[in-house]
Symmetry: C2
């Protein structure tokens, strides 16, 4: 099972936006994370399309979260980048071969698909239980003062 690499950049970027007090240009986010602006911009656009962030135009523009960090879960960000499709996709193997399942039997999902879906719900529930505010509070507890440093840097002269 594989998750898009963009998820990691997106969660880190949203954690920064959650702690920022002003719109953050993608140039700043890219510099802060040591990644190319072009690469990060693609993921910020996906976050924008999903309604988690909005782009503010103009000289002091940049990205803002559309709601508080306590109202955005890690699951929201994973879904925005990786899409809403389940990891396991049932192709109805039971309907193939010499003994296809009856139409009646296929009114409910295949037992294997049910087991996979239950596991994915457990995964999703776990990610839904953690918000950006939770992530930032944990980071703040482990690295006191770090947010002040980052906020000060974000408020500094825009990088070219």
């Amino acid at each position: 099972m594989k998750m898009s690499a963009g998820v990691e950049w997106a969660v880190h970027s949203c954690a920064i936006l959650s702690a920022a007090t002003e719109p953050v240009p993608v140039t700043k986010l890219a510099e802060l994370h040591g990644v190319s602006k072009t690469y990060l911009a693609k993921h910020m656009q996906a976050l924008s399309h999903s309604g988690l962030v909005q782009a503010i135009e103009g000289r002091d523009g940049g990205y803002l979260l559309t709601r508080s960090g306590s109202e955005i879960s890690v699951y929201d960000i994973v879904q925005a980048i990786d899409g809403p499709e389940p990891a396991f996709r049932c192709t109805e193997i039971r309907q193939r071969g010499p003994f296809p399942a009856s139409a009646e039997a296929c009114k409910v999902p295949c037992g294997i698909a049910q087991v996979m879906a239950k596991a994915e719900r457990a995964w999703g529930d776990s990610l839904r239980s953690v918000t950006l505010a939770d992530l930032n509070a944990a980071f703040d507890a482990s690295s006191p003062g770090s947010w002040e440093t980052v906020r000060g840097w974000l408020a500094g002269t825009p990088t070219p």
Copy 2:
């Protein structure tokens, strides 16, 4: 997040092996599932490499599970096909940019990686709680008599 399509074929095939009383040739498994022998053989080899099935050579040969269906979980099969790597791979973004995390702080996984790992454990625990025997019992309850039909077919004249 995406799971390899081979997982679905592998779980269906292992469920058949769990219900079978004799080695099942890959030709039979392929015919039963309406898929090419070449395609299925690749996944059976992966299951063999992981030690879940063994190939019996000879005229009455085929695949057998290496242990009882009550001792093989859906998680075992997913791992055999999809590999043991976690879905989320932390690339230590915290060590990049103008404020890299200290070596001291990096002795424990990044908070984001911890959240992802916890969710994957919940997913894995869910899949570990279901065995092939459970899948087959559920199928037997929903489709009484189906296993007898399949076993009879498996015991019939080998397909060319």
